[in-house]
């Protein structure tokens, strides 16, 4: 026993020592594990604290999200409303567009109608104009015959019955003759004037110097008390209807001579100057002139600024001048000082244009 027992004891001791060691090891391990646990606990606490914070954050974020969601709902509602409005506006625009198109169609229709009306009116005007022309023609034409009869029969009375009518009676008959003659002249002038409106204007280059030469030869003033003296400047050529422009010159020159007849001398200046694409011609006299305040009557048909006793005439000459110049798209105007003279101007297109 002894040996065995001690062996056993040694073994047992050794075992105990080992166990002890083991226990100590385990204790140390436990301590480490405890420390670890403590650390882990701390960590957990930290994490828990963090989680609390994170939770708070999340709660806050959730709240924010909810707020945003609320806002979004509101915004959505607004958008929906706006969309509706837009749709409404779009509908309105479509309607407005349709209306606009209708209005456009209406305008186009009205325009077409207007154009049609203008064409119609123009045609009407033209036909009325023609009617008026033929009316004025036939009136003046038909009036000539009775006036011729009045004039002619009165003359027969004067010539064949003068032994039965006293001198006062003859004077009265003479007045009838003069007046019917005057009426005949008025009618002839009216005829000439109405004919002008119908006459075709044929434009060509007019040799103005040559034309004036011709007119000077045709218009003879030699049996006049004061024979007119003419001073004719350089006259550039212009575009016009020669026979009509000749009439313009004749009327203006005859007027210049006529209204100078009470002066001692008759000096007439004829000239021209260029302005842009126009040639402006003028006839200047030192005659009776006229008061510029009656200027607007100057070119009227049968308008006169002087009495028949002062200067004879029917008052058609300048009306004809104006009508002719206007038919050439030109202008006619005048300047005058009473008792000092007048200057009449008219413009025509120059040949270079």
């Amino acid at each position: 026993m002894k040996k065995n027992d001690s062996d056993e004891l040694i073994i047992a001791n050794r075992q105990i020592a080992f166990q002890h060691q083991e226990k100590e090891n385990r204790a140390a391990e436990l301590i480490i594990a405890n420390k670890e646990l403590v650390f882990q606990n701390e960590e957990k606490e930290n994490r828990a604290a963090e989680l609390v914070i994170a939770n708070k954050e999340l709660i806050f974020q959730n709240e924010e999200k909810e707020k945003r969601a609320q806002e979004l709902i509101i915004a959505n509602k607004e958008l929906a409303f706006q969309n509706k409005e837009k749709e409404k506006r779009a509908q309105e625009l479509i309607i407005a567009n349709r209306e606009l198109k209708n209005a456009e169609d209406d305008i186009r229709k009205l325009n077409d109608e207007l154009e049609q009306k203008v064409i119609q009116r123009t045609a009407q005007l033209e036909s009325v104009n023609k009617e008026l022309e033929s009316f004025s023609y036939s009136v003046s034409h038909d009036l000539r015959a009775p006036i011729r009869a009045i004039n002619g029969y009165t003359r027969i009375l004067v010539e064949d019955y003068s032994d039965k009518i006293d001198s006062d009676g003859i004077k009265i008959l003479q007045s009838i003759i003069n007046n019917s003659k005057k009426m005949g002249e008025l009618i002839d002038d009216l005829l000439a004037f109405s004919k002008l409106g119908r006459k075709q204007v044929t434009l060509s280059e007019i040799d103005m110097t040559g034309l004036l030469q011709l007119i000077r030869e045709e218009l003879s003033f030699e049996d006049y008390e004061n024979v007119p003296e003419f001073k004719i400047g350089i006259l550039p050529n212009a575009k016009g209807d020669k026979s009509l422009i000749k009439q313009v010159w004749i009327n203006l020159i005859s007027n210049a001579v006529k209204y100078s007849k009470h002066k001692v001398k008759t000096n007439i200046e004829i000239g021209a100057y260029k302005k842009n694409n126009l040639v402006i011609y003028y006839v200047k006299d030192g005659g009776a002139g006229f008061d510029m305040q009656y200027y607007d009557k100057l070119f009227g048909v049968f308008q006169r600024l002087h009495s028949q006793e002062e200067f004879e005439g029917t008052g058609i000459g300048l009306a004809i001048v104006q009508k002719i110049v206007n038919r050439h798209n030109g202008t006619v105007w005048a300047e005058s000082t009473l008792n000092e003279g007048s200057c009449f101007y008219f413009s025509l297109l120059s040949v270079n244009h």
């Binding site: 023609y137 034409h141 000539r144 015959a145 009775p146 006036i147 011729r148 009869a149 004039n151 002619g152 029969y153 009165t154 003359r155 027969i156 003759i177 019917s180 003659k181 009426m183 005949g184 002249e185 009618i187 002839d188 005829l191 004919k195």
Partner: protein, 146 residues
Amino acid sequence: MSYHNVEILFVEDSTDDAALTIRALKKSGFTNKLHHVINGAEALDFIYCKGDYTSRSDQDFPKLILLDLKMPKVSGLQVLEKIKSDPVLKFIPIVMLTSSNESPDIEKCFELGANSYIVKPVDSDNFFNAVKEIGLYWMVLNQPPQ
């Protein structure tokens, strides 16, 4: 009334114009036999010896026809056209004596062969002179084919 040896055929519908023209001719010394008809139809009857003029010789031509333009029934233009398109009658001088100084009328008359175109002046002096000149020119100066 005798229609023989009529030298002037005067076609005029206006009594007044006719009276004044005839007087002016007489006063100017034209005693030539004149016959006055009052419209174109009668003028053609005279020329062609029809109607009231069947007794007239168709070998007897007037020396001059004074022809008004605007007349009822047959107008002066129609008379002019008829006579001037007749190979025998076309040599008779025809003077248009009218109130119209319208270019188309004047052109038409000359186109149809009128020998002259005179617008009746309103003033009696001018009228008298015009008629006198017509008489002088066509009855005295003018030499028609024999």
